[in-house]
Each structure stands twice: as C-alpha cells, then as structure tokens.
Symmetry: C2
Subunit: 348 residues, 2 copies
DNA sequence: TTGTACGCGTTATCAC
DNA sequence: GTGATAACGCGTACAA
C-alpha cells in the first residue's frame, strides 16, 4: 500500500511552499514557470489525492438538503421515504447535512407548486423531489436552475434529455416483468391491465407500464393470450366491486390481472369476494397488498422501492455537497419481485 | 435547524476551558465539582455531537481492511465481490481505508487455513471472510480474537450465538421462497431437491435450504405434491446427464426441480437436452444460469447477492474503524427473486 | 485541577 | 510570485 501524500509532502519534495502547491493544484495562477515545473514533476511521480476530510472540516456550514413528496395519508406508498430520511439524518447529520421534509397534496398540482415555491424561497442547497405533475415540475425545474439550487427527481422523470438527475426504475421494464410473471402463472386466457384511481397527470407513468406489458406479449406472439385494458375510478354512483363484477360477466375468460398502481388490493379484494380463480400481479408493498400477498390473493408484487429511491437521491445530493462527488444523470434501481415468502426483508 | 455546537462553544458557555469540557465528555476525571456541574448544565441544554470528521482527521493512519474468499476461477459466484471491493476502494480510500483481497481454494480447507493464517500474520486492522469450512473457521476466529483483529463473516455463519458479526441471508427462508415459486409454477407432482457438487463442509449450508423448502410444503400439506432429494457429484465414470436421465426414468412424475447451488444450469442443461417439461428454480446470477434464464430453461433464480454481502461487510468494518460505528451482529439482506426480465439491474 | 498549545490536511489571506 | 500563518474541531501532552 502506497503512502498517502499531503500537500506538505509535495511542497517539501518540490522545494516550494504549501501555498504554491495549492495554487498549482487549483490553477489559481500567480505561479512562476520554474515553480510550476517543479511541482508538476512531483505530481506526475506520485499520486496525490486531496483529503476530503480535511477539506470538509473547514466547511462548518450546514447544508440544507430538502425532499419534497406527496403526503402519506393519501397514499401509504410514500411512507417508506420517512425511513430513508431518518437513516440519512443519522448518517450525515454529523457531516453537516440537514434534511428537511416537505409534502404536498398528491391530487393537487396547485399544492405541488405552492410547496415547491415556498421551499425555493427558503433557498436550500439542494432539492430532491417526486414530481407527480409534469407541467408544474417544468416550472419548478426552471426556477431552481435560475436560483442555482441543485435539483434531482425520484420516482418520476421530468426530463427526457436528463438535464435533471433521476433516481428510479425503468417503468417499461416493470411492465415486462409483470407480463413474464403472469405468463409463468397461467397458460392461456384473457389478461387484463387495470389502471386504478389514477389521474391524467400520471398518464405517462401508467402508460409506460402498460406498454412494457403489451410489448412482452407482442414479442411472444402467443395466440393463447389476449390483452385488454380498463380504467377504474371510484365514483359516487358505483364502487370497485360492482364495476369489476359487471366487467367480468361480459368477459368470463379472464385468467390474470395486472394492476398498474399500488391499489392492487382492490383487484385482490374482488377476487376474494367473487371467488374467482385469477392470478394477480401488481405494485408496491403497501399494507393492504401485503395482507393479500400473505393470503394468496395476490401472487406477485413489484417493489418500486420508494425508500431506496429517496435514500439514493438524498445520498447523491449530500455527497455532492460535501465531497463534490458527481451526481449520476440517471440511477436505475433494481426491480424487486416480491411474493409471500420474501416481502419481509424488503420492508425495512 | 439547530446550530452545530463545538467543544469550544461549550467551554465558552460554561465559562471553563476546552480541556475541562473534554475531560467531562470523556470522563477522564480530574475535574472539580463546580466545573463538572457547569459543563453538565450546558450539555443538558444543548445537544452536543462530536464532529467525526475532525476526529478522524488526526488519524493519518491507513487502516487495512482485508477480505478473504474463494477464488473465482473455481466458482464465478464470487466474481461480483470484486466489484464491491472496487467500489469500496473508490469510496473509502480517501478516508484512509485500504482494502486487500486474499483468496483461497474453495475445495481445500488447508488452503483456507494457510491463507487466513498468512493474513493474520500481517496484522491487519479487520478481516471480512467467507468461511466455507466450519471447523477451520473456528480456529481462525479464535486466533483473531487473541490478536484483537476485528472479524466479520459473510455468506457463511460460523457462530450460532453470533459472537462474530454476520452479513448474509436467511438460508432457510430462501428454501421457502424456492418452494413458493415452484408451488406457483406447478399444480402437482414430484418435486426434486438437487444438491450438486457440494462437499461435506457445505452440508449445513445446503441443509438449511432443503429444510426451508420442505418446511413450506409440510405447512401447506398438499397431497398433490411429494418431495425427494438427491445428491449429484461429477465423478469419473458418470456425468450429470446420465445420472439424471436414469433417475428420471425411474421417477417419471417429476414436475419441478429445486437446485440448492449455483450449478442450477446443470439441471437446466438436462431439461433442454431431454426436452422434458419441468420447472426449475435455483440460485445465483452466474453467467451460465443467466443464459438458461433468458432461454426459459430456468424459471427463477434466487440471488444471494455476494456483491452486496461483501460491500455491506466491508462498509461496516470501515465505518467502525473510522467513525467508531457499532457493527450490527447480524445483517440479513433481502432475498431477490430473479426472472428473465429483471436480472439485468441486479448484475451491476 | 485547570488552561494552553499543538497537530492533523486543506484553504484563504496577508505580508513580503 | 511567494511563503508564512490562521482557521476549521478534536484530542492530548504539558505546563501552571
């Protein structure tokens, strides 16, 4: 193992002062030709890496890293993010990182805009957000760029050309995974893609999953299967059960359901109540889904892992601020397949 | 966000010197009653956390963290550990951690002992090892304790009462997962547990998986299924295919195979060549397995994630040495279910 | 029993 | 242009 060289070592080897070495390293100019040569010669011979600890020691500044995402009382999908935040606080608070949590109403673009603007007004050092609303997110993105606030998104892409760093999954691929799972659980029949309670803003989100699912079966080109899609929204005059029941009456040959949202339990509930023999694959380890997974009324869940997304996003920002680490443009997380036997370890 | 208090802050608030505060904090004694009271009063009011950066700055020492595991040319299962090592080096070298890689012959207890002893002789600060040989591991463990070298194990437990820190998976549970998967892929028939090319030393390792698998079906108590177990070892007079072929001739009702090692591809190869309709579930993302996964001759793989195991193990040791973080006694990693659609993201 | 002074590696400022 | 020096927060040796 080689020695750890310091600026002092270099200055002694080159026969100049620490200050000169510093000026060479940081290209601040004001260095004579001869001194520059001497220092560069040494730098070529040894491998110098600045000590990040000493660097950040001088920074007694506390960096404010903020995370903005929907409130959990509307959708427990987001709850695991709290664990990620707590973990980050424990690990990085000592390094001078303060994590702030901001939430918005997942059904209201206005709420998103308000919260984001309020957040920007406090001039944080960096923002990680889960932007459900594409249009509004563009406005926020622009504002952050103007104010030179570092911004990353997780769960939702807002930038096709990835100007904004993104942490999440390949949604198209999750659709393919669901398809493969239903393919292995069944041998034939009608497969139903169900979008539940999703607003327009999430259209692209859901659409990608649907496309992935269809793509798998198009590729397979198996005449034993047929695919169709429905949207369900809880309205005043009809509930989930009634809607599904009437749909199944006119489509009796359904053998599998792919639910594109965390409300997979809705389909599972219907399956239980109607005592139908259908296979169900859906998304996310929310409590109600896990209950059905345990009982066998959901076969597989795909874990979008919001905790890991949030954690990775916060971590990237923190390490960038502290140690000037580059933030990857795109971080695609693994897509976990969950059944009744392996969900436990994914919960924490 | 609250201010970050330093020892200097406390000393000024309490009207004593930094040295006194330090003595109180570290309970070194030699502090008068009155000074003790004053300092403690301040400490109660504010929340003081020492700055780990400043603490480790003084340590210009390079910590040697060593990892000992089998050579990959014998079993590509271990190859991903190299990625973990590289990543750790990139992240922690700057903090004064040097990672050293030591390998042993996975078939030779003597080789393990030799390598481990040679390693201990160099007096490293910490060792992370994958100990395939239980008896020999006990000797090494004892020697490390004597020499006060911190030791953790990954992949293999060597300590029922967890005196040694362990990073890995719940192997019993992986067996249950395999069972659940085969259960969902089939409806009835004989299920075959296959141990391939495993020596005695790994008996407990394989046994746990087998027990988990059986436990699942005992719990389910479904008369449509029956379970049996075989051991295959490549010998001079017979090859895998012949052995399996003759076994299947006398047991024609087999619908699923559970291979307890990374040599799952052996079963898949047989399935392909004999054109049998059997479902196969096995372990690990080694190249040959992935080929069969893509072609459909393996249905699911369980990822033991050696990379994550090694990474987590090294990380625990590094952060313990640098920041005096406590090492968890047992870290049970998630058990990933892999099919042809989601293996890619798990590879890197 | 207490306070002071120094060193760790980097950076920034200030005389020369 | 250059080199000396202070500062960051902590630990500690040593002087008072």
């Amino acid at each position: 193992m080689m020695k750890k060289y310091t600026i002092k070592d270099i200055s002694e080897l080159a026969g100049v002062s620490k200050g000169t070495v510093d000026r060479v390293l940081h290209k601040r100019g004001k260095v004579s030709e001869s001194a520059l040569k001497k220092v560069n010669k040494i730098l070529e011979e040894i491998e110098y890496k600045p000590n990040p600890i000493a660097k950040s020691l001088k920074n007694n500044k506390i960096y404010r890293v903020c995370i903005l995402f929907p409130r959990s009382n509307q959708d427990s999908f987001w709850t695991p993010c709290l664990t990620a935040i707590k973990e980050m606080e424990n690990n990085y608070q000592a390094f001078g990182i303060s994590i702030e949590q901001h939430r918005y109403d997942s059904k209201s673009p206005t709420s998103f805009l308000e919260q984001a603007n309020a957040l920007i007004a406090t001039k944080p050092d960096a923002i990680l957000m889960a932007p459900l609303f594409y249009q509004e997110a563009q406005i926020i993105k622009k504002r952050c760029f103007e104010q030179e606030i570092i911004i990353s998104t997780f769960n939702n892409v807002i930038d096709k050309n990835s100007l904004t760093n993104y942490i999440g999954q390949d949604l198209f691929q999750t659709g393919r995974i669901a398809a493969k799972l239903l393919d292995s659980l069944t041998t034939s029949g009608d497969l139903l893609i169900v979008h539940i309670d999703e607003q327009v803003q999430n259209a692209t989100h859901m659409q990608e999953k649907e496309n992935g699912f269809k793509h798998y079966f198009e590729e397979k080109n198996d005449p034993a299967y047929s695919i169709s899609t429905i949207n369900i929204n809880k309205t005043l005059d009809t509930n989930y059960f009634e809607f599904l029941d009437s749909y199944f009456k006119s489509n009796p040959n359904i053998t599998g359901i792919f639910v594109t949202t965390s409300k997979t339990y809705v389909a599972a509930q219907f399956k239980t109540e109607s005592r139908k023999d259908i296979k169900i694959v859906g998304y996310d380890l929310v409590e109600k889904n896990i209950e059905h997974l345990k009982k066998g009324s959901i076969d597989f869940l795909i874990n979008q892992n919001p905790k890991k997304q949030a954690f990775q996003g916060l971590r990237n920002l923190a390490e960038h601020l502290l140690f000037a680490k580059e933030i990857p443009k795109e971080t695609l997380l693994p897509i976990d397949i969950i059944n009744s036997e392996n969900y436990r370890e994914y919960l924490e």
